[in-house]
Symmetry: C3
Subunit: 270 residues, 3 copies
């Protein structure tokens, strides 16, 4: 049982706003601005840092490390390994977003190697990415999923077994898999898939919640619910994804008790 | 004759929305987020990837390759050459946006070398950039044009002759030059020049249209018309370029038959 | 006396709009899009360029050089040194934004070395950053200040004495320190601290004003006042920081005489 409640989510949000944990992101160029804004709007303090000369120092200050190699290249990969090692040593929650795993062998191999070397607290990806990490059949086309999320549930259990990580498959329904448990998060809005990098934002929010909530499965579920609820609020009446993108930031900033209580839509089990 | 019609444009948009072609962008840091959002809003599937370890694999999945070295450095240039070689081998449409050609000798030389080595399907730039590529008189100040677009028409014909590429000079009027033909696209709005990277977005749209429309001159003209029409819709009543930027994404998402039929403003010849 | 007036600010804005000075930014990935848009909205012409192969050429075209190493790594640091050397040789105004100084020893050392090697025209940072540069007690947590701005005034005077630079400490009140003078800029809005990179935008505006106003202390004070006033206008009725971010660009674009006269809130001395 992961046991998600509106009260629990509200408490975590309050903690994030009160403590403003530093979230260290090694993330891709596409989403840096929107990720930083989402974390700031929620109440956390984002930092982007990727030089091998400083990632150890930065991890030491951080409440969570979020690694998203959506625009990877060797120097960034090297720094991600160093940061992950430091996070393991200091027991800083470590979230991986395996953007585009399965699309190229370089991505698939990099993410597998990183997960094997430093098993993360959380792995959050779309169905294609989670399947690519847990099997040899890679079916990813670029960075958008070609599968509905439920098709990766078996893969997620396999990956959870191998890595010990909490696995989150995001999609129309998000599945959070941990050991033998699974929670479905049914919040969100279809237009969100037309805004670039909202998966990356969700991973960053997982970092913010993991920084204040020691139960990682609960932290991830809370983060995905908050992301989905903010998306629903942002999509209401939005003429298109340009509007949705900035309103999502506003929604994260304003998110209050009644929003959570009214919208929360999660279910334990399958 | 390139022969652009509203029906042709609508068919191409329908194709993009139905097939969601992967557009592989090797592009600059400034515009990655907005370019990805524009492609997603239109219905395409963007990916940004620049590591030499993976660009061949990514090109192989792509409906078009768009190279925009607006924030170039040697590793990116190297990857652009590798990707361009693969695109040539696989006959994947290849679009170059020569950002800032003429501003520094490094940019001018890089773009000329790339065009000579792997003649692109399409070259889209502002007047200063097109002139810098086709002559020795470089007059670019930074990345904004110092010339009106018509002043580069001779240069565009010269460049088209040398490279075999379709050349697009963007500006108040866009000129699409192919062999002995030229089409004028008079869509767009002056405020668009105050939003960073809309030229880069136009190049990415050229990639999306080239992925579904094998006649490159037609694809480019359709893309420029769609970009201009979306810009007109976005600018209507916009208090400034901040608003225009997000509304342009909404406009690409919502673009419908009546918008195209009502606004399309192209003319064959000079 | 720095002697800031609405008339002086209006004259500088007019100059920027008329001359459209090229502002060469070596800046971080997070803010490139918003910085470029802010400069364009104000009337300047931004360029982002960081390759050591071209930074000298770009500085030679520029009205100001703005170095912001918020996502630094060795190749960018090397280029910043080359660009700063060229700016010194050509007497191009040189602005440093020491993002995250104090957070890691790599950042603190890099900024100190750069300032020692090529004393900048202007250093603009938050209180934690200015303190970290002028003393050995680094208290920065990531990139957000942990101190109110007035706590860095002594440090700013020390740093001004060592470097000869104009120092700007930004915060709820901005302090511009030059030799024995200090000006307080009380414009701005608390929600601005929830939008990523508005400090970086302020530094870029310092570049635009320094390109047209040879008195650097005056240029910086004018820039900070304009940034604050645009922020106030943008925040009016904004439901959150997502809205504030795009409205700030609109506000910079529309900024007129009555806005400046009505809102300007600066005071000489302490």
């Amino acid at each position: 049982m992961i046991n998600i409640t509106a009260d629990g989510i509200l408490l975590s949000i309050e903690e994030i706003r009160a403590r403003s944990p530093l979230i260290h992101n090694i993330t891709n160029y596409v989403v840096m601005n929107t990720t930083a804004n989402a974390l700031l709007a929620l109440g956390a303090s984002p930092v982007m840092a990727h030089a091998e000369e400083e990632v150890r120092d930065m991890v030491a200050l951080a409440g969570a490390l979020v690694v998203n190699l959506g625009t990877l290249s060797p120097p960034w990969v090297k720094s991600a390994f160093i940061a992950a090692e430091e996070a393991a040593a200091l027991k800083v929650p470590f979230i991986i977003d395996p953007v585009g795993a399965g699309a190229t062998s370089y991505r698939t191999k990099t993410f597998r190697d990183l997960i094997n070397a430093f098993p993360p607290t959380v792995i959050r990806g779309n169905a294609s990415e989670i399947r690519a990490l847990s099997t040899d059949s890679a079916t990813t086309k670029g960075v958008d999923s070609t599968d509905p999320s439920y098709r990766a549930i078996d893969a997620a259990f396999r990956l959870a077994g191998l890595s010990g990580s909490v696995i989150c498959i995001s999609g129309e329904t998000d599945y959070v898999v941990h050991k033998t448990n699974v929670v479905q998060v049914r919040n969100g809005h279809p237009m969100m898939s037309r805004v670039t990098g909202l998966g990356c934002t969700a991973s960053a929010l997982c970092g913010a919640f993991a920084a204040v909530q020691p139960d990682a499965a609960r932290a991830v579920t809370e983060a995905m619910a908050v992301m989905g609820i903010a998306g629903e609020l942002a999509a209401k009446g939005a003429p298109g994804p340009g509007t949705l993108q900035f309103r999502l930031i506003d929604a994260l900033y304003r998110l209050g008790e009644s929003d959570i209580r009214k919208c929360l839509n999660v279910e334990e089990g399958l």
